[in-house]
């Protein structure tokens, strides 16, 4: 099976500062890949490259086995890459359905006059159905997102990605700042998304959460890949060591 996404020696530098050094990473269709690393390890830069926000300074991106460039977020979206940012990606003052369709609004058929008008009632009902399909029950899609809890916001972003047939869903720290109960919910939505055939890259530094839903892990350390491993081949402690030291060994750091 070809990899959905493959990064080959992707490097990103800002002036003289290297954020990513020769990163090699693969994402398989339908899997949940945990992208782990401490703050400053390069996770954010890496997802911005995948989202089309940053262009790599060197290296190749292969999408479905074909070399590609992701020039803008719109291009990345059109390829089927959806990114759910930590607290971005959702506009608090907009209603649920407007957020759901943001950037992909549906207009009245081109054959009709005033074809640029939005199909508002259709969009409302589609948003409601898509949420229900993932097990999220929100009756009033006219609520502003600001009224929802952190977990519900994540769930809308996930439902949106699944509905628009994203092939790759990138979640940036989806469980940060969530209660235990909400975390469980969001992780269940991640599973639901992957069961519907969407590959998920889960960025987190919470190893427990990652262990719960991920099939494989890629650990970044100082901008480079420390290791990529199947879930079966690693323990939580070893993952923690990889994140902290870049190896499976637990180094004692001299003070």
């Amino acid at each position: 099976m070809t990899n959905l996404l493959e990064l080959k020696d992707v490097t990103k530098s800002f002036g003289r500062v290297y954020s990513l050094r020769k990163v090699n990473m693969t994402v398989r269709p339908g899997e949940v890949l945990g992208l782990l690393g401490d703050n400053g390890a390069g996770k954010s830069t890496l997802i911005k490259v995948l989202a089309g926000v940053h262009q790599p300074s060197a290296g190749d991106i292969l999408w479905d086995g074909v070399k590609t460039t992701l020039d803008t977020p719109r291009v990345a979206m059109s390829r089927g890459i959806s990114v759910v940012y930590q607290d971005l990606g959702i506009i608090p003052l907009l209603s649920i359905w407007r957020n759901f369709f943001l950037g992909r609004e549906e207009e009245v058929s081109r054959k009709l006059p005033f074809h640029w008008l939005l199909r508002t009632s259709h969009m409302r009902s589609v948003a409601r159905q898509a949420l229900t399909k993932l097990g999220i029950h929100i009756d009033d899609v006219d609520l502003t997102v600001a009224k929802l809890s952190g977990g519900e916001r994540q769930s809308i972003a996930i439902a949106r990605a699944v509905h628009f047939q994203s092939k790759l869903l990138i979640l940036d720290e989806p469980t940060a700042a969530l209660s235990l109960k909400e975390t469980a919910k969001v992780l269940s939505y991640v599973r639901a998304a992957s069961e519907q055939g969407v590959a998920v890259v889960l960025i987190t530094h919470n190893i427990a959460h990652a262990f719960e839903v991920c099939d494989r892990f890629t650990v970044l350390f100082h901008g480079a890949v420390a290791e990529t491993t199947e879930k079966e081949g690693v323990t939580e402690q070893e993952l923690a060591n990889l994140i902290n030291t870049g190896t499976r060994m637990q180094h004692r750091i001299a003070v």
Partner: protein
């Protein structure tokens, strides 16, 4: 840490728990949560106040005066509301309004027909707005600075070219005269205002671009992340604000056939006032054209009403200032209600 047990909660049950948590919204709640709710009540109160206090407030003449006084301000307010929802604002609209009126008069006096002069100032407006928008979004200079410069610059150009004297049309222009119509008690400029307000209310709530305007104003980074070209959206919004200022200039020339060098001075702040009274947020992402429309009407009513009551006109400013503060407090409450 999440236990195995929690993970096994069926997804649907979890969702149901979410749904149960929130009490259903009543129709009243929904109504009060709209950005315009404060200004609707305010408009009714102001109207009732003057209806009781001011003689002849119901007369056709007074109504007509209110509508006429609101028209130019209103047309500009539609543009500024659009821009403010997109998260920016424009202090140069008053100067652009005055200058565009002068340009039309100068052109027509040179023998250019009115129907040619209109598109010329419209293009002028689009260029001015695009420059503003470009400087603000690409060079990331605050819109306050750029448009304050614009306010000074365009006013200075107007003062310099007219030498500070009023200028007027030397001969009537057929097209301009045709634009100066009146339907019943509604003067032509106000009909322009209604039409533009209706069109923009539709654009904002029922089109893709409108959705992008709100999204950009709400959070430019998030909007960009969803593929919305936030910078371009804001540039277009700047262009709209300047364009409508020029349209207002044209409409006022059609009505009054003259312009003095100080026309539109202070308008930029009056417009902000009307738009904010109408429920828009200075931070962007929240507001409505209908609200701005009513905000403008309130200002017009207060202006004319105070004259009718016979109160010294200097109290007008005091009254408007008070109105803004009260409205801002009410709107803050409304906004909190709709987002928490």
């Amino acid at each position: 840490m999440v236990t195995q047990e929690q993970e096994l909660i069926p997804i649907s049950a979890v969702g149901a728990a979410v749904a149960r948590k929130r009490p259903p919204k009543t129709r009243l709640d929904r109504l009060l949560g709209r950005p315009e709710s404060g200004v609707v009540i305010a408009a009714i109160l102001v109207y009732l106040f003057f209806a009781v206090m001011a003689p002849h407030f119901f007369s056709e003449r007074v109504a007509s005066n209110i509508l006429l006084a609101s028209a130019a301000l209103g047309i500009v307010a539609v543009g500024v509301a659009t821009l403010m929802i997109a998260g920016q604002f424009d202090l140069s609209v008053g100067s652009v309004y005055g200058l565009s009126a002068a340009i039309i008069i100068l052109l027509v006096n040179q023998g250019v027909p009115g129907w040619v002069a209109l598109p010329i100032v419209m293009v002028f407006g689009i260029i001015v707005g695009t420059i503003n928008g470009y400087l603000v979004t690409k060079l990331e200079i605050h819109s306050l600075i750029i448009t304050l410069g614009g306010l000074m610059f365009y006013r200075g150009v107007l003062l310099a070219t007219t030498q500070g004297f009023p200028i007027r049309l030397r001969a009537p222009d057929a097209f301009l005269s045709a634009m100066d119509f009146q339907i019943w008690i509604i003067p032509g400029p106000f009909i322009w205002f209604i039409c533009l307000a209706t069109i923009f209310a539709y654009i904002l709530t029922r089109t893709r671009f409108g959705n992008w305007l709100f999204a950009t104003g709400g959070s430019p980074e998030a909007a960009r992340g969803m593929g919305v070209p936030a910078g371009r959206v804001q540039i277009v919004a700047f262009a709209v604000a300047s364009l409508l200022a020029c349209v207002a200039g044209f409409v006022s020339v059609a009505r009054f056939s003259s312009v003095d060098a100080l026309r539109g001075t202070g308008m930029e702040l009056e417009v902000v006032l009307a738009v904010v009274v109408g429920g828009a947020s200075l931070n962007g992402g929240y507001g409505s054209i209908i609200g701005a429309f009513l905000g403008v009407l309130i200002i017009g009513m207060i202006q004319q009403g105070l004259i009718l009551i016979g109160i010294n006109v200097y109290w007008y400013q005091a009254g408007i200032g008070l109105l803004l503060i009260v409205a801002a407090i009410v709107n803050q409450y409304v906004r909190k209600r709709s987002i928490t």
